[in-house]
Symmetry: D2
Amino acid sequence: MDYVYGPGRNHLFVPGPVNIPEPVIRAMNRNNEDYRSPAVPALTKILLEDIKKIFKTTSGTPFLIPTTGTGAWESALTNTLSPGDRIVTFLIGQFSLLWIDQQRRLKFDVDVVESEWGEGANLSVLASKLSSDGAHTIKAICIVHNETATGVTNNLATVRKLLDEFSHPALLLVDGVSSICALDFRMDEWGVDVALTGSQKALSLPTGMGIVCASPKALEASKTATSVRVFFDWNDYLKFYKLGTYWPYTPSIQLLYGLRAALDLIFEEGLDNVIARHTRLGKGTRLAVEAWGLKNCTQKEEWFSNTVTAVVVPPYIDSTEIVRRAWKRYNLSLGLGLNKVAGKVFRIGHLGNLNELQLLGCLSGVEMILKDVGFPVKLGSGVAAAAAYFQNTVPLIPSRI
Amino acid sequence: MDYVYGPGRNHLFVPGPVNIPEPVIRAMNRNNEDYRSPAVPALTKILLEDIKKIFKTTSGTPFLIPTTGTGAWESALTNTLSPGDRIVTFLIGQFSLLWIDQQRRLKFDVDVVESEWGEGANLSVLASKLSSDGAHTIKAICIVHNETATGVTNNLATVRKLLDEFSHPALLLVDGVSSICALDFRMDEWGVDVALTGSQKALSLPTGMGIVCASPKALEASKTATSVRVFFDWNDYLKFYKLGTYWPYTPSIQLLYGLRAALDLIFEEGLDNVIARHTRLGKGTRLAVEAWGLKNCTQKEEWFSNTVTAVVVPPYIDSTEIVRRAWKRYNLSLGLGLNKVAGKVFRIGHLGNLNELQLLGCLSGVEMILKDVGFPVKLGSGVAAAAAYFQNTVPLIPSRI
Amino acid sequence: MDYVYGPGRNHLFVPGPVNIPEPVIRAMNRNNEDYRSPAVPALTKILLEDIKKIFKTTSGTPFLIPTTGTGAWESALTNTLSPGDRIVTFLIGQFSLLWIDQQRRLKFDVDVVESEWGEGANLSVLASKLSSDGAHTIKAICIVHNETATGVTNNLATVRKLLDEFSHPALLLVDGVSSICALDFRMDEWGVDVALTGSQKALSLPTGMGIVCASPKALEASKTATSVRVFFDWNDYLKFYKLGTYWPYTPSIQLLYGLRAALDLIFEEGLDNVIARHTRLGKGTRLAVEAWGLKNCTQKEEWFSNTVTAVVVPPYIDSTEIVRRAWKRYNLSLGLGLNKVAGKVFRIGHLGNLNELQLLGCLSGVEMILKDVGFPVKLGSGVAAAAAYFQNTVPLIPSRI
Amino acid sequence: MDYVYGPGRNHLFVPGPVNIPEPVIRAMNRNNEDYRSPAVPALTKILLEDIKKIFKTTSGTPFLIPTTGTGAWESALTNTLSPGDRIVTFLIGQFSLLWIDQQRRLKFDVDVVESEWGEGANLSVLASKLSSDGAHTIKAICIVHNETATGVTNNLATVRKLLDEFSHPALLLVDGVSSICALDFRMDEWGVDVALTGSQKALSLPTGMGIVCASPKALEASKTATSVRVFFDWNDYLKFYKLGTYWPYTPSIQLLYGLRAALDLIFEEGLDNVIARHTRLGKGTRLAVEAWGLKNCTQKEEWFSNTVTAVVVPPYIDSTEIVRRAWKRYNLSLGLGLNKVAGKVFRIGHLGNLNELQLLGCLSGVEMILKDVGFPVKLGSGVAAAAAYFQNTVPLIPSRI
C-alpha cells in the first residue's frame, strides 16, 4: 500500500497536513466505540472546555465538526449571516480567495479589499469603509489571520481597534486555520466572533475535524441568520449540548481521543511556549532564506508568518520543479506555489509538532535542491544562519532538565 | 485516557460505528502526508474505481467526502434539487425522520408517506402518487434502504419497478447508510440516482467519510440544481477529478489508506460472501429473539433487516435499562430505542466486519441481561437457536481450507 | 501479509499467547528509543518495583529478561544450582516434562516424581523424600504451579508446609508461567525462591519478556552456583541495577512501555479482582464441559485450573480435528492436546485480559464444533450452564457504576 | 507514560536501537496469534528463506532466537565449541571486550589479540598464530565485523584469505550486529561459519530477535560441541524445522510480522542500494567531522565504519556532556563513549532506515552542541561538507521517478 516508498522518514514541510506526534498516533490507534455510551459525552465535555484555551476564550462556544477547514468556513458564515448580507473581506492569496469564492456562492454581498499577493490585508481601506458605514450595512468582516499561500499574517488587533474606533457592530469572522495554536491568537481580547481552524494544522492531528468557536454575539446572530444550513447548523449541536449527549451525528472516536492527546501535549509544553517555538522556527527559516540570497514572498516584516514561509525563486527557476525534486530525491515534502504565485514560490511549512533539528534537516535539503536546479546557493549558509539563531534561543526541554 | 476501562474486549453491537478490523486499524496507523504529492492522487484514483463495486455500479461517479452520513444526505439533496422541488419521502423511523427534517430545512416541498415504526415504506401510496403525477411534479423519491432505528429494509427493486411502470423521471435518492456493503444493493440495476453510506458502517472504518455515488442522470441534474452548496458541491470535486489532483480540500490521509485496506478485505472475502454473511447473522439473531419469546420490532418478514435487529421488550421492562446494564456489567454495547420506540426496543447491530462467534457472545450476554432485568428467558435458548442455524450454514474460511 | 484472513475477530483461546488489550497495543505502538537516556532507567526502576506486586513479594528481586519462558526456566536453574545438584521435580504433563528435560541437559541430578497426566504433583512422595533426606542432598524442589498441558494446578502452600515441617533448606523454584497474575500466587508467604512467568501469558503482552523473581535466599545461592551462564546471569543485571542504568544489554523499548500499560490495567482492576475473574472464567468453563457430558482432563477438583481447561473427547473423536476445524470454520483458536494426550484432549485457555462474553462466544463455538465432529452435544447447553453462573457472579465494572 | 516529552521528533542517532520505519511499526501493531496454527509456520518458513539474503548465503541455516545480540553471541559459541577449546579473538573496543568476557565465562581457552581502541583487528598477529598452529589447536576465530564502540570495520575477506592460506580448519564466528544489512557482508563468499545480528540494528526493528546463521560446517560442529546449552540449542530448532512447526518455544508474533515488513522494505530498496546508502551516510558524516576540525576515533581509512562514527573531542571537553545536552536541549540522541573512550568520544549512529536529510538535521544539531560546550565550530561547516557530497551522489527514489 506504500506505492512510493523511500528509505528513512518523509520530511513533511507542507503547511498542513503536518506531522502527527507519536503520542497522538498512539491515542488514535483504536477500535470504534458507541458514541452514545456515557464515556464519549464525558470525554467530549472536557474537550469542549479545553479546546477554548487554544482560542484564548472563556466566553466562546466551540464546535468540533466532522469536516475540513472549508466546511468550518461554511459553518462560520451560514450560522451568522443571511443571503445578501454585506461582508468586507480581504483577498491576499489563494486561501482568502477560496473563502471569498465561498462567500459569493453562499449569496452574500461580498465587498473585496484586494492586496498584492505577499502583502497583508489593507486595513486603511477597511478603516475608510467602516468610517463611511454609519448605516452599518457591513454585517461582517471576514479575514484570514494567516494566509497560507503567501505566508502573510494579518494584524487582528488592528482590525478590532478599527471596529471599536468606529463603534461598528459588524461581526469579526476569522480564518485561523494556519494560525491558531501556533501564532498568538486572542479570541476574547480581539473580540473575534467566529474563529476556526482544522485539526491537521497546528493541532497536529489528521484531517477531519473543523474546529469553530463562536462568541456570544455570534450565537445571538445565529438565531436570526437565514442562510440555509443543516449539517453545519450550530443549533443542532447546541440542542445536544443541552441534553448532555453532545453529538447530533456520529463523531470520529479516533479524532476525539487524538484531540485529547494533542491538547495534553500542547498544555504540557505550554501554549505560550508552543507559540514561542513557532516564532523561533519562523525566524530561523527567514534567516536561512536571507542567507541564501532569496526573497520572502511576504513584503514587509510586520506580516512575516511564523507558520509558513513562501520563498520567491529567481525567474529562471520553476518552483514546481523544486517541490517535485524535493520529494523525488530527498523525501522532502514542500508546499507548491498556488495560483498567482504558481511556479514563482515554494513554501516551507513550519507549524505543528516540530522542532529545530527537523527544520534544519529541511533547510539543508532545500539548499541541495536549490543547487540541483541551478541556483548558486552556498551549501550550509541557510542552515548556519538558522542554527546560529537557534543555538542562542532554544530552551532546555523542561521535562529533561 | 480510558475513563471507563473494563477487562477484556468491548463487545460493540450498536448498528454503527462498528468494529474496525485489525488490518484496517494498522493501515490507518500513520503520519500525515502531503496530499498534493503524486502518491495521494494515485491512491485516490484507484479508490474511486474500487468503491464503485460496493455500490454495484459501473456508470456512477463516487465522491469521498470528509463528513458523516448527515453530510452525505445533504450532498445528495443539494446537488440534485432546487428549493421548492417536490420530494416524496418515507417516514418509517428515526433516521428517515432526521432525513425528512433535513429535506424540510433545505426548503424542498416534502411529501411524506408515513408508516408505523416497524413497517416498511408504503409503496402503494408511492404508486398512487406516481400514477397521479402525470405532470411530473415529483422531482425525487427519497428512501432509506435500511431504517437503522427499527431494523426495516425497504424493497428498492419495487420502487424502481413503480417508477418504470409510470415512466416517471423522478430521481431516486437512497440512504444506504446501514445497507451498502452489507445488504444486497444494486445501484445500476435498480436505477438509483444517488446512493450514499458512511465509513463507520458496513465498511468498518472510523467515522469521517461520507461516500456518495451519483448516476449520470444525477450529475446532469446537478448542473441545474439551484440549492446553495459549497462544501458539498460535487462540481468542485469534478473539477479536481479532471485535473487529476482529485481533492478540492484536504482529505484524511488515514481514512484513504484505511479505505484501501477495508476494500481489500471485502474483495478478498468477496462482496457476495460479505452479503451472505450478513444474511446469516441477521437470520441467526432473529432466531434467537424468537427463542427468547420476544418480538422483532419489524412487522413483516419481507422487511427483516440483516444489519440490525430491534427487539421489543415487554411493557414492564425499560429497554434503556437493558442497554445501560449491558455496558456496565458485561462490556457489551447495544443500541438504544430511539424516539417513538425509546424504552420499548433495544437494538442489536450485526453489520460490518463481524463473525458468528462474536454474535453468539453478544446473544449470550443479552440473555443474561434479560434475566438481570426480570424477563424470564431460558439461558442458552437464543444462542442454541442461532448456533443450530450457523452450524448448518457457516462456510469454511476459504484462505484456511 | 495476512495470509489466512477470515472475517471478524480471531477468537484466541489458546493458553498463551493471549489477547493483548487495546491500551497495551497502543502503548507499544512506538519507535525505538535510546535505552541509555535517563528516560528508560527511570521507567525501568518503577517497573521493577511494580512487577513485584504480581508476585506478591516485597523481598524478591525481579529480572525482566529478553527471552521466553524456556529462558526464564534456564535463568532460574543456572543462577541457583551447580551441575550435579539434586533436584526433586514433578512430571505431570508436557510443560513439566520440558522443564525436566532442561534440568537434565543442564546436568543436574534430577529426581523425578511422576503422576498420571491429569493429576497434580504427588506431594506425599515429596514428603517421604524430604523426610529421608536428613543430609539435605536435595538442593531444590522444581514445580510447575499450573501445568498448561493438562490444566492442573499444584498446591504450593502444601509444598512449603512440607519443607517447613522437615526444616528442609532446599530452594523452591516455581514455574508460574500460566499462573502468575491469574491464579493466587504468594511468593513471600509460600517461601518461593525463584518464581517466573512470561509476558505473553496472564500479563497479556506479546512474547519476549521472561520475568523472573528471586528471593534473598536465591540471590545468596547465586553467589556460589557454578552452572555456566552469561546471558542469563543475574549478576550482570545486579551490577547494572547498582549503576542505576539497569540493562546489561538492550531491552525492548516497546515491551517496557507495554508492561507499564499492562500493569496499569491490572492495578486498575485490582490484582485480587483479576484473580477472582479468572476463578469465575475457570468455573464457568468447567460447568460448560460438564453440561456437554465431557470429562475434564484434571482428575480432582483440588487441581482444577482457572487458566486452562483440558477437555477429554470420546475415543471415537480426534481432538486435533476439533482444533483444526475451530480455526478453519469459526476463526477460533483452541489449544491442541500435547504428547501423551495428543488427539485425546483439546484445551480452552481462559487467562489474561478476557471477559465473560468472550468466553461464552468461545463455548458456543466449541458446541458447534463438537456437533461438526459428531459428538451429540445439545447446542446451548454449555453456554447456559456457564451463563447461569456468570449471571449470578459477574460484578459491575467499577469505572462504570 | 511519556515522562520526558519534548516537542517534535526525537532524533535517534545512537548506533542501535535505531529508527523503526512506519510500515514496520504498522505491521507490528497487532494482537497475539496462536503460533501453532498453520499461519505462523507458513510465515516462518518464508522468513527463514528470505533472511538468508541479508547474510548473502544460500547454504546457511538461520535461527530467529527470542533474545538480544548477547544471546546470539552465546548461541554462536555454545553450539559450535566445547569448554577448553582455543579461540583466537580480537579486542578492539567495548563490544569485542564484552564478547571476550562471555567467551571466558563460557570456559573457552581465549587467546586475545589486542589493538588500540580505534584500530582494527591485528590480522598479522592472526597470520602468525595460524602459521604456527599446524596442530590446529585453534578451534575458532571470533571477530566483530564492526566494532560499535569505536566505529571500526574489520576486513573479513582478509581473515578468510589467511585461513585459506594456512588451510586452517578453524571456525570463523562473526559478530555482525552493527554490520549485517548495512555493510557489505558475504557469508558464503567469506566462508563465515556463524554470523549473527540483532533485530534492533540495521534491520530497524525493535529489540528482541537475535538472528544467527550457521554454515553447514558450523551445524556439523554443533553435533559434537559439548558446551551446555538448552535455550540457545540449535538442535531444538532443527527438530521443529523438520516437523514444519518451526518453534521450540513461543516466538513474538509481532516481531515475525515486523521482520516480514522490514525485509519487504529492504528488498524493495535493494540490499545493494541499502549498503550504498550506508556508504553515503558514513562518508557524509566523516566529511562533517573533518570540516569541524575533529578527529575520527578510527585510526585509518581502511577501518572507517559506515554505520557508526566515533568522534574524538578535544581534551578540555567531556563528551558525556555533549550527549546529555543533545538530549536535553535538541531532542537528539547520540551514543556515549564507552569504557576506555568514555568522555573522550561521542558516537553518531548512521545505520538502519535513515536518509540524508535526517542525518543533516543531526549534524546540524551536533554543530550547535559543540558550540554549546565551547568548541569553536563554524556552524554549517559540517552540514555543508556532507551536503556537498550528498548533492552529488543521492539517487532519485526509484518508486518516484
